[in-house]
Symmetry: C2
Subunit: 293 residues, 2 copies
């Protein structure tokens, strides 16, 4: 069985790494803060003290990091310890251009790289049924598939380098716009005196149904702002989408609106909360807090 | 079995009336244009020449009409032929205030009225599994339930008069905002050179999934603009939502954006097409027509 490395043991990365261990892969791990490294080590992972060390101990090396600067920094270390044939799998959400640059750098060092960002909640990460969108060489994708299958259920090969990242950004457009739709819907429903839980149930059965509604609607109603996906990370994804749409000359009006609102929410200090906290900003604008009649 | 009347045999009304007949109810029908009346008559319905005649022959009278003026006009006729105890069921999408006015008028004439708008496509109407959101007296709702069950699968009692209409407007917020999200997502995906059908499949499995994406995304890609739900009707629903949000003092930014775009689409002559035609406007703004790589 292929030797796996994992760098970035956060909200998503830790349960993903755990699932790789559970499938019987040998796993070398590194994280900037040590607590999750110790936790994975207690389950049988080899703790490493640098990205270079993970690279030396891996044939497939996964990165799951917040943003491009962290990926670039980690990969600088990885490239130091890298042997020919190492396959990097970056599961972070980054721009497709960045994915292509990093893949070119990996190839120039005798390795290869896939961009393989994921969609789904921390619960999906824990249950190993994430959606994974993969860009890169099809051959490398097929060779790496058993490792990806430890983490995800719906795994799609989207095309050459960058195609996985592009698909993830498309996904985030739907995520963010639907999220705002849920907020505005609950606001009207609350002002109308409807039972909000029932509205979520009703709308979910019909043409207004969405993952965002079914999963985050109930949390907005119960004021549960624990992060499945953090506001600051959605802000970052929307920033990347807007940079790309600017480069491509695409006017994305709904994206522009929701990204300004998410930015405002982050600036108000809600960056560490789940994206369902967008309801708070919509409530502030309306001077009305939703409540379940 | 209760005697049923049906006025408004359009894209949705005709299959709904057909399902009532199929369940064995006697049915009296009226429509401004005669072709659907003849069609229902050939299946066993009693053709009527006026709303008043339908009222005389019914215990439960359903209206399924485009907008408030048509409902008001039809109900004027209905009130002429109305006997005490007649239950009106308006399944049109109208404002909650209008629903309450009409219900009060029906009650003052010894009858009752439910607002019971539906969600779902023409296919759901044909298959009898519409979502139905009902406002009015709970007793009248329970008495009328067998008739509603001939048309819908998910039937919800939402509260007093107007609550059904409010719930439907909430539903339309989710419908319209998600629809715009699908358009912007497909635009970026197309510019990125991704396979659009695959993007719809991928995003549908994860946190960006929605009814709008799964059902209208494929039609946008195949350029099928046949109406399941017409642009002109969504425009009307959004107008009502904006009037209500103005009255209630609610700033609904995503609703404002999508309603301006739907209005522009209608003004460009696409009112009779399905709402998936919104992609055309988004394409025009971006000077890029989506295509399936």
């Amino acid at each position: 069985m292929v030797k796996v490395g994992f760098i970035g043991l956060g909200l998503m990365g830790k349960p993903m790494a755990r699932n790789i261990l559970k499938k019987g892969f040998s796993l070398a791990v590194y994280n900037r803060s040590r607590a999750p490294v110790e936790e994975l080590a207690s389950m049988g992972a080899a703790p490493c003290s640098s990205p270079a060390e993970v690279a030396q101990r891996s044939e497939v090396l996964i990165t799951m990091l917040p943003d491009e600067p962290q990926v670039a920094e980690v990969l600088t270390g990885v490239f130091e310890g890298m042997r020919s044939g190492l396959v990097l799998v970056d599961m972070s959400t980054v721009s497709p251009m960045f994915s292509r640059q990093m893949a070119a750098a990996a190839r120039s060092r005798g390795g290869d790289m896939l961009d393989a960002p994921v969609s789904g909640s921390t619960m999906a990460a824990e249950q190993g049924n994430l959606t994974i969108m993969v860009g890169g060489s099809r051959k490398t994708f097929e060779e790496t598939l058993p490792v990806l299958q430890a983490m995800g259920k719906n795994i799609f090969y989207m095309g050459e380098s960058g195609a996985g990242s592009f698909a993830k950004l498309c996904n985030q457009i739907a995520v963010a716009v639907n999220l705002l739709g849920v907020c505005e819907m609950l606001l009207l429903a609350s002002k109308a005196g409807l039972n909000l839980s029932q509205v979520v149930e009703v709308v979910s059965t019909g043409a207004g149904g969405s993952w965002q509604l079914a999963n985050l609607g109930p949390r907005m109603i119960s004021r549960d702002f624990n992060p499945g996906f953090k506001v600051k990370h959605l802000r970052k994804d929307l920033r990347i989408i807007r940079e790309i749409s600017e480069k491509l000359g695409l006017p994305l009006q709904a994206v522009a609106l929701v990204s300004e609102l998410i930015k405002a929410l982050d600036e108000k200090g809600h960056g560490e909360e789940g994206t369902q906290a967008l309801i708070k900003l919509v409530e502030t604008l309306a001077s009305h807090q939703i409540s379940n009649a």
